[in-house]
């Protein structure tokens, strides 16, 4: 037998959608996390309610790598239709736990097979017929726990945690796990090299949160009071979490009154329209959607930009074009969202690179929207939004709301009613606004998407039109300096740098770590918002070559950066693109990088 491989492996459970496997997967994840070992789970699921294949990948590494790995160490083959294909993904020497009835004749011989009669065990050992199908998944948790050495205490903790709101379910699930564990102990001797051993110092203080949970909490802490949405994968859970959190934290126990309105709209046009109407009337308002919804929201986005209405739009990106792969991830909306709508329209776009930033940006987006009186897009993605991520617990906000330049009745009295909705009083391009209901005769103005002068009156004047557009640009430049700056790591002091954003970050972190181990360190800049900071050009200036890594076919961020660079720097830019709908693994960065940057022997 080879040397043991400890706490560094990827488990892949191949199951059937709708069979209850997700609960088993989560229990396994929580049990390993309980051992103090960093976990990085990814759910690869079909656009389907029941019956199609689904995979759950649970990666554990002592370093806490969070990116997807495309190499499987332990396969749990629970889907007869895909299992032969699934075998191909397993590393030589890897483990295959499979239903006994699957024939291994002429299957790969470089793997270690543990055949388990799951169906028979379930029939014999799980008395409840209604729960049998679900609980059968728990048997594989027991087998995996046996193979890898997950202690009973961790399993027990995980089951209790998973069924916090359903304590009655704890015992039956533990019993089912025990069936698997006992079967392992009675029938197998360990043939493979993989082990899990408790760790200290890696996960303390960490929690497991989905990006959409984080963004919903962020919105709640950001003071959202009107949210309108239309169901779409992978965004739906954001508003569903928001509803759940609001039911808990925003309901007056005595009166039943809700300090928020969450409306399921008839479509994305209405969803963003409601959010804009609410924001115009003074609420903090949002919508959440994905690519197809963003397409539908284009017209309203232009209105909010031009009429200067603050609104927050979450885009949990999936892969397009069109319907695309609704349950697969992408960073393909960046360029479109940035200039969403016709005419000279451009938007603030926040690019969270972790669930912690989904929370922070989800919260601060409302401040940016109010301060700059413009739509703010928060571009998360399916990988970030719908998977569980290990993260430090989020910080309580240290700043009060920034409601921006709003004139009250008293302000108007002080100004003797002299003000103009689109006047640049402070030279920062940001005008003052009033809210409907402000009790002053000069408060009212006419908001419109048509040409307007400084007093919001209709005009077709060439000079006034152009002057207003220039002011909007000034406002955008003010915003450029205020939104989250890039995070730069130039400790490598390398001539070659990397730029990435969003969920690509974790793959870059791992790629840099592995490359550094082999003596190739790279500087790194993580972009966190559009419009691009001037620091981006400075970073490129300090490096001979810079690779922009992103998850779309066309190199959208590469293009945006190239446009922002002085012409003498554009040739320094290279592009690494990953666009198959699966979260980018570190290898997809290391391999192309090594093709061009390998040191000649």
């Amino acid at each position: 037998m080879t040397d043991p491989i400890i706490n560094d492996l990827t488990i892949q459970a191949a199951t059937v959608n709708g069979s209850g496997s997700q609960t088993a997967n989560l229990v396994l994840t929580r049990a390993i996390f309980r051992m103090g070992i960093p976990v990085a789970p990814k759910n690869v699921f079909p656009s389907n309610i029941e019956g199609l294949p689904t995979w759950y990948q649970l990666r554990v590494t002592p370093q806490g790598h969070m990116a997807r790995s495309d190499r499987v160490d332990v396969l749990v083959a629970f889907n007869a239709t895909t299992w032969r294909e699934d075998l191909k993904t397993v590393r030589p020497g890897g483990v295959v736990i499979h239903e006994e009835s699957y024939s291994t004749a002429d299957a790969r011989t470089d793997l270690i097979y543990y055949a388990v009669p799951f169906s028979k065990l379930a029939k014999a050992k799980i008395p409840s017929e209604t729960l049998r199908k679900q609980l059968a998944n728990m048997i594989y948790v027991g087998i995996v726990a046996g193979v890898l050495g997950v202690p009973w205490e961790a399993l027990e903790h995980a089951v209790r945690r998973q069924f916090l709101s359903k304590p009655k379910a704890v015992q039956v699930n533990l019993d089912a796990i025990k069936v698997g564990l006992d079967y392992w102990q009675d029938n197998f001797s360990k043939q493979d090299a993989y082990r899990l051993e408790p760790m200290t110092g890696a996960v303390e203080g960490k929690v497991l949160v989905e990006g959409n949970q984080a963004a919903a909490l962020g919105a709640l802490m950001g003071g959202v009071t009107v949210a309108a949405w239309y169901p779409i994968t992978p965004s739906s859970s954001l508003c569903e979490y928001l509803i759940a959190y609001a039911d808990r934290f925003r309901v007056d126990e005595k009166t039943g009154e809700k300090r928020i309105a969450v409306v399921q709209a008839e479509d994305e046009l209405a969803a963003v329209g409601m959010a804009i109407g609410a924001a115009w009337a003074g609420a903090r308002a949002m919508t959440s959607t994905s690519g197809p919804g963003i397409s539908l929201m284009a017209e309203f986005a232009g209105l909010a930009y031009y009429a200067e209405v603050p609104v927050v739009i979450f885009d949990i990106q999936r892969i397009g074009p069109s319907t695309g792969l609704p349950t697969r991830t992408s960073q393909g909306d960046v360029a479109f969202a940035y200039t969403l709508s016709h005419g000279d329209t451009k938007h603030i776009v926040l690019l969270p690179g972790s669930v912690e930033e989904c929370y922070e940006f989800g919260r601060d987006a409302f401040d940016y929207a109010d301060r700059f009186q413009t739509p703010v897009f928060v571009l998360s993605d399916l990988d970030l939004g719908m998977n569980l991520w290990m993260t430090p617990a989020f910080q309580y906000p240290d700043k009060p709301f920034d409601r921006g330049k709003v004139l009250s009745k008293e302000d108007l009295e002080r100004l003797a009613g002299e003000w103009g909705r689109y006047q640049d009083v402070d030279g920062d391009g940001i005008p003052y606004r009033t809210l409907p209901g402000t009790d002053h005769p000069a408060a009212g103005y006419f908001t419109r998407g048509s040409g307007h002068d400084e007093h919001a009156r209709y005009t077709e004047s060439a000079a006034l039109y152009a002057g207003n557009m220039d002011r909007l640009n000034r406002k955008f430049e003010t915003a450029r300096k205020a939104i989250p700056a890039p995070v730069v790591d130039e400790t490598a002091k390398s001539p070659v740098g990397l730029i990435a954003f969003g969920s690509t970050h974790v793959a870059v972190v791992e790629a840099r770590a592995r490359l550094a181990e082999s003596g190739r360190a790279f500087d790194y800049m993580r972009v966190r918002a559009l419009p691009l900071s001037s620091e981006v050009a400075e970073f490129v200036h300090r490096h001979e070559r810079v690779y922009v890594v992103e998850q779309n076919r066309d190199g959208q961020m590469f293009d945006l950066i190239r446009l922002a660079l002085p012409s003498e720097l554009t040739e320094r830019l290279r592009s690494i693109r990953h666009y198959d709908g699966q979260p980018v693994p570190a290898d997809a960065i290391i391999e192309p990088l090594m093709e061009t940057e390998a040191i000649p022997a």
Partner: protein, 340 residues
């Protein structure tokens, strides 16, 4: 000379707006004047009025009344969603939407229907001329079958009747009138504003430039010849005493949630405005007879509006303080610990 002041101390002029840019003689301008009269007489506080509109000739008109009020001229056919959001943010606002037949029955039919379905508290006026004026005279979805365009083209499609659609969807206030009939429109606008819920008021408003010729069923002469009023409408706001000067037995009194009264004097038919099926029948019979039935077709004075259904607090959502909205430090710490 001092102007007469209304109950909030404002003269009629306070309800005027910018000069109209619509064609001289446009029905919409008449409606604007009726609006000014109704808002002045009701004593609506201008700062509490939100004038909402979409795109088109009709949607320009909110600039022509109550200049000191806030207005929002949004995008084509999407005024209902803006109104919904604004209503949720501040349910104390008086939402007054002005739309047209294209804005409502063509591009905006979906949002129109869903606004009704949710029963957003707003007055929704359709300035209905069956034609696209700003783009120079194309048919809209309310143009009658067989009606003739100025250049001779014949409409071959069934019209969408916004009132019939509204009734089918359970709209809580449905009325129709004619832009030239101020006597009928003014009380209807007042009643619509007093009503809590979506009040749809379809006002036939001839387009003098593109749709006021012999072949048009939305011309002045056609409407004048075919209008059939189901009752004389008068409206008594909650702050005025009800003094019925009609003979008993000829008057129907509908009390609205705020204590206002709609009084209807019987004409030919004894239409009960609280009977939705009767309203549908009146519309159908009018259509069959080639009549344009005007008046208050239906009202449900007990309707529950969206903000109430949503359990919006008494303090408007937009006025809630940070302490009302953020979790406390303890709640936050407890919540985070649940993710461990």
């Amino acid at each position: 000379m001092s102007a007469t002041l209304n109950r909030v101390g404002l003269p009629r002029d306070a309800y005027k707006g910018a000069a109209t840019t619509l064609c001289a003689g446009c029905g919409h301008n008449s409606i604007t004047n009726h609006m000014i009269k109704a808002l002045y007489e009701l004593g609506v506080e201008p700062h509490m009025l939100a004038k909402m509109s979409g795109i088109g000739c009709s949607s320009k008109t909110p600039a022509y009344f109550v200049e000191s009020a806030h207005g929002f001229n949004g995008v084509h056919g999407r005024m209902p969603s803006l109104t919904t959001g604004a209503q949720l943010a501040n349910h104390r606002l008086i939402m007054l939407g002005v739309s047209g037949d294209g804005d409502t029955a063509s591009i905006g039919l979906g949002q129109f229907m869903h606004m009704i379905r949710r029963n957003i508290d707003c007055t929704y006026i359709i300035e209905d001329n069956g034609t696209y004026g700003l783009t120079k005279g194309q048919f809209s979805a309310t143009a009658d079958l067989g009606s003739v365009q100025k250049k001779g083209a014949v409409n071959t499609f069934q019209p969408i009747d916004p009132c019939a659609v509204a009734l089918t969807l359970g709209c809580s206030f449905v009325a129709r009138s004619f832009s030239g009939d101020g006597k009928q429109i003014v009380p209807l606008i007042k009643a619509a504003i007093a009503h809590r819920g979506t009040a749809v008021l379809d006002i036939i408003s001839p387009c003098v430039t593109f749709n006021d010729h012999d072949g048009s069923t939305k011309s002045y002469s056609w409407v004048k010849d075919h209008e059939e009023s189901i009752a004389d409408v008068s409206f008594i706001p909650y702050f005025e005493e009800v003094q019925v000067d009609y003979e008993p037995g000829t008057v129907r009194d509908v009390q609205l949630h705020d204590g206002s009264h709609i009084l209807l004097k019987k004409l030919g038919e004894d239409h009960d405005p609280k009977d939705r099926r009767a309203a549908q029948r009146v519309i159908e019979e009018g259509r069959a007879a080639g009549h344009l039935v005007t008046g208050l077709l239906y009202v449900d004075p007990d309707s529950v509006d969206f903000a109430t259904t949503e359990q919006i607090p008494a303090t408007p959502l937009k006025d809630l303080a940070e302490s009302d909205l953020r979790l406390t430090r303890d709640q936050f710490a407890q919540f985070m610990s649940e993710f461990a």
